[in-house]
Amino acid sequence: MRKMKNMLILAVMIFSLWITTGLSLSAEETKPTSGNPDNRLEEILQRGKLIVATSPDFAPQEFIDDSKKGQAQYVGSDIMMAQYIADQLGVELEIQAMDFAMVLSSVDLGESDMAISGFGWKEDREISFELSDGFNKTGEAACQGLLIRRADAEQFPTLESFDGKLIAAQAGSLQENYVQTQLPQATLETITSMDIGILSLTTNKVDALASDCDVAKGYASKDGSLMLADARFDTSKEDQHDGNVLAVKKGEKELIAAINEIIEKINEEGLYEQWKNEAKVQAKKLGIEFDGSEDVIVETKAPGVFDVFVENYDIFLNGLLETLKLAAITVFFGTIFGALIAIIKLSKNPLLRFLTAVYVEVLRGTPILVQLYIFRFFLPMAFPWLNLSKYACVVIALVFNSSAYVAEIIRSGIQAVDKGQSEAAKSLGMSNRHMMMKIILPQAVKNILPALGNEFVTMIKETSLASTFYIGELMYTRTLLMSTKFYAWQPLIIIAAIYFVVTFVLSKGVQYMEKRLSVSD
């Protein structure tokens, strides 16, 4: 027992050193000041920085170059355009990557100045945001089509052939527009991200995936069972609302006017096409092909799970280490907090008991994902002076959540100690404090430690939710490999396997610990 205690203390010390060297608690991202709402442009100029939200899962417009770190990893024609806009305004550029679904709300909440992520003009969007003039609409760059299974190629020679079929399109995208207007007889299936669309297509859940031609070619180059259909959407209308748009917060008239001026310049000088070509070259270096003409059948078979793993084992390893680190930090601090809560809950003061009871019930009774969102968005708003990074918000949310579970673990661990023990101690005339410290707690530890071990194992799985916020743990490698290498499903299987192996081994470890601890019974 003593030997185990010493080992435990040593482990905790080593661990504390390790995690404190890796914590990035203060924001690398700039927090936009919540100043006068109608003067965002002024704010940007004053600040010297333009903050742009995007979802980098859309080559060649916005994607990730995983050979780079930090801001440099975000590449693509939209990124170059954002850089151009920033240069024209005379400020620096900061890219904030996030899930596609959060890009617009980020602008709405004032977290970012501008959103650019392959959006198309939509009437309801125009109501909630200031949308720019269109760009990326001329020449072959305006090619919009449908990704289909190669086996179905003969079924779909024309647009009309898609009548009555199930077509997937990303919610709120340009392609969704096209499906609604040009394929009214088809059934639209909205999806949240392209990789879900790919999965739906390859598993025969949908018949086609509406996509930018280049993006479609990129996917097809990685998976020979898919191809760009011959039929294309009609993009010939010269309309102010054609092409892509970007969005800023509603009411920021000065900002959108300044941006539109710049867009006019871009369109006149044909800059966007240049950027797109550059982006395609860059993508090619990462193994993403756009130049395969539809006539040349690209017969690359999609790589299998094992190949993807071998090719990217370092990415998975890093992701796993981040996951373990995140889980460890969470349970470590969660235990400290949880112990505090457990002690307060034993207080004689009924108000303290009530408050801690509410704390525990609420945190255990609401989904972790909801808590993550709340902490992620409300903490920086409520405490701007703390300058909390996205990572810190997520960690804080997980720590609070874990502390509630730990408090319960401690309480029930103490309660599980046989009542006769406290009766014997009391009957001997031992003080309450001595009874707790010398008799009850040492025995409760035997119940608590294995349960804490299980909490750690559970947390390893729960940290996968942090990937929603583009925190680079194991689950995020899926997003990464999706956007950089167009691997739709292989990473999922590898990730699941890694989680399983890790949790299984650790669970066995916890069982072993439980056995060792109960020897003295």
Binding site: M1, E423, A424, S427, L428, G429, M430, N432, S520, D521
Partner: protein, 247 residues
């Protein structure tokens, strides 16, 4: 075994309810210094509850428990201080499994009475010798048999040098071959002059060791007297009924 006449524990109008259930319905009784009192009766009669009220492991719903002149049910007093003078032995031993036999005995005197470690250990070894457990001093309780654990529990309580020892069915959880050894230890204590209150089903033992026997039934002391009176010439119909079933 000598009844000195000095009142050690006085119980007045003791009532105990568990929710709607009335377990003790009004008990008046006095335990004198040097007395050995046995409490017998059917299960559910409140014997254990009564015993546990004597060191306030159960809080009386009403009434008084006066130990050495102090009402220990009073919230204002330091109950730990008084409990140190009342030893208790439980049916299920309740020895501390994470401490050695020796540590079980020395922990409370060193913590609460500030007895120096060496002195506490010497005294503990003496006590262990008396009950034949000195060789087990550095073992953990899991290595002991039930009878040995109970002897440890008795010695642990004795180490606090109490004025009275309470026994709550001390042999009910023991295998038959171990009962005798434990009863012998209790008998030695009693003959040595320790005031004892014993709840037990061992009628033969109660008869031979007690000065007084209390028969409890349905939350009251139905009858009491010397062992001869109770066992040979019971008066109360319930006493007669009970004894006919167990003897």
């Amino acid at each position: 075994m000598i009844n000195s006449g000095k009142k050690l524990i006085e119980v007045k109008g003791l009532k105990k309810n568990f929710g709607a259930l009335e377990v003790l319905k009004g008990i008046d009784e006095t335990i004198h210094k040097g007395e050995v009192v046995s409490i017998i009766g059917p299960s559910g009669s409140g014997k254990s509850t009564f015993l546990r009220c004597l060191n306030l492991l159960e809080k009386p719903s009403s009434g008084q428990v006066i130990f050495e002149g102090v009402d220990i049910a009073d919230k204002k007093i330091n109950i730990d201080h008084h409990r140190q003078k009342i030893g208790m032995v439980f049916q299920h031993f309740n020895v501390f499994p994470h401490l050695t036999v020796l540590e079980n005995i020395t922990i409370t005197p060193t913590l609460e009475k500030k007895v120096p470690q060496k002195e506490a250990e010497d005294k503990a070894m003496k006590l262990l010798k008396q009950v034949g457990l000195e060789e087990k001093a550095h073992e953990y309780p899991r290595k002991l048999s039930g009878g040995q654990k109970q002897r440890l529990a008795i010695v642990r309580a004795m180490a606090m040098e109490p004025d009275v020892m309470l026994f709550d069915e001390p042999t009910s959880a023991l295998d038959p071959e171990m009962v005798k050894d434990v009863l012998e230890v209790i008998q030695q204590l009693a003959e040595g002059g320790m005031t004892c209150v014993i709840v037990t089903h061992e009628m033969g033992f109660a008869r031979s060791v007690s000065d007084r026997v209390l028969f409890m039934d349905e939350g009251r002391i139905a009858e009491q007297g010397s062992p001869q009176q109770i066992f040979d010439h019971p008066n109360h119909p319930r006493t007669i009924e009970f004894l006919s079933k167990v003897l």
